[in-house]
Symmetry: C2
Subunit: 299 residues, 2 copies
């Protein structure tokens, strides 16, 4: 597979296992799609589907997902802790290999237009696909949630990028967009003092003066008697893991605290790890084409 | 591809491009084989073929290679700087993914027996496939080279593992075996003093008291005004890159010398780099199943 795009749609059903499995089966059957996993959260009443493929395959996967989800999910009866605005709430396309963010932006536009035409669902392009800065942030788009959208859309500022000027009666609206891979990365500290983790989180996160592509907060790990800097790395190519790790190390040392370990939660592109190896081993002229397994993916 | 085995046969023809290409084409046509590259050396008069596949595919690739090479290469007319004993000189099987060294030992026996039966070529099992310690080392087997083998094989100690008790008249004998992946890894030092590189090489290599799976020597890089510790990592799982890198760093510091950089020459399994990232980032509970691209290879 020369081109690998990841798609991680969030669907507003996390309690009815049978329905979730029917949607998963529809995705699995889409040609060229590799469904890696489905993660359901009952309190959120929401499921996250993770699948891979080239552009045509992930498009087919998303279309199959909508075909299965729209008739099965009625947002007028949906409740859960997680904010939501659509039966299929958000569809991110993520370039992994042989595709750029721009390729994924173009894909998100094509898929958004097709979904709007097929199902009459208003589509908002978000993140790198956004048509205005106000639509870049998913939380801004979702404000008001399903119940508030009929009212929200009366404001011309919130006219959708594709589809009708009112939400679908049961399926609401959907955000579709391209974004870089996100890595959930945590650094565990040898202290119980949450203030240390909070202070380090503050020093590394973008919003308070840290790295451009880092979101972070301090978290208590009561069972381990430790605290954690819990991090979302939103662009590991521009803000790599090792740079954040070393910054946490340096800030922690200021409190006499050591890094106990770090962890990658869930999936990561290989390149994030190659970049760390390159940095620490001071590799010269390294290319991922030198990695046997990457060569196997070329065709 | 769930199972990935690498095969890197060395063939005694490195000057006649057409012949080398005919052999390469035969390998390419073998079902399931991915030929990554062919590297020919005219002064050695020798070519190295690198291909991947599951057990059945690499077996088919080796059989195709012999079919093409045996009628095309006549060792009675072969000259070159590299020692050689066969038209196909050596066939190593290397486990990359989903296969163990033991799987490759078993494969090497099957392939060795088949080649002996089909072509009447004596086969010696070497490295991890060796049937005695004396046959583990390829250089020991090859001693005497093609011209000396008729005499050498009169000694019952050198009876082949498969095939006739005398060399094939034009194709000689072949060594077939399993070994772990080998990584060619160099560390470049910020000094012109070859003695420093030699001394560090001595401190890290197995033969003189260093790491079990390291071969190393000092090399001058005249064009860079630097010296290099040139390393063969013969088992990166048991002696990982980062451990050797850190040992070189520490030894170099003793001379007031810094590491300028390091380089991986040619191919490496992804795991060698993942291990370095795991070490330096102190990753807890990491598995290569978390790497998107590795998941793609699963099927």
């Amino acid at each position: 597979m020369r081109t690998v795009i990841e798609c991680v749609p969030n669907v507003s059903e996390g309690r009815d296992r049978e329905r979730v499995e029917e949607i998963a089966e529809a995705v699995r059957r889409a040609p060229g799609v590799r469904l890696l996993g489905v993660s359901s959260d009952a309190s959120h009443n929401r499921s996250v589907f993770t699948f891979l493929g080239d552009a045509a395959a992930v498009r087919a996967g998303v279309e199959a997902l909508f075909e299965a989800a729209v008739p099965r999910i009625d947002l007028t009866r949906h409740e859960g802790e997680h904010p939501r605005m659509g039966a299929v709430d958000v569809v991110p396309f993520i370039p992994i290999r042989g595709a750029s963010v721009e390729d994924c932006v173009s894909l998100s536009r094509d898929v958004g237009a097709a979904i709007a035409a097929r199902h009459g669902i208003p589509v908002y392009l978000y993140e790198d696909s956004a048509t205005s800065e106000a639509r870049r942030n998913l939380a801004e788009i979702r404000k008001g949630e399903f119940e508030g959208f009929a009212e929200k859309m009366k404001d011309p500022k919130w006219a959708p990028d594709f589809g009708p000027a009112a939400p679908h009666p049961t399926a609401g609206v959907v955000a579709v967009g391209a974004r870089p891979p996100l890595i959930a990365y945590n650094v565990n500290l040898g202290t119980k003092d949450l203030k240390v983790a909070d202070s380090i989180a503050k020093s590394i996160r973008h919003i308070s003066g840290g790295f451009r592509f880092v979101k972070a907060m301090g978290v208590e790990l009561a069972d381990r008697g430790q605290v954690q800097v819990s991090i979302n790395m939103t662009n590991f190519k521009k803000t790599p893991l090792h740079r954040v790790f070393e910054c946490v190390r340096s800030e922690a040392a200021r409190y006499g605290v050591q890094i106990v370990g770090s962890e990658i939660v869930g999936l990561t592109p290989a390149e994030a790890l190659f970049l760390a190896a390159e940095h620490y081993l001071r590799l010269e002229g390294f290319s991922s084409d030198q990695v046997l397994e990457m060569r196997l993916l070329e065709e």
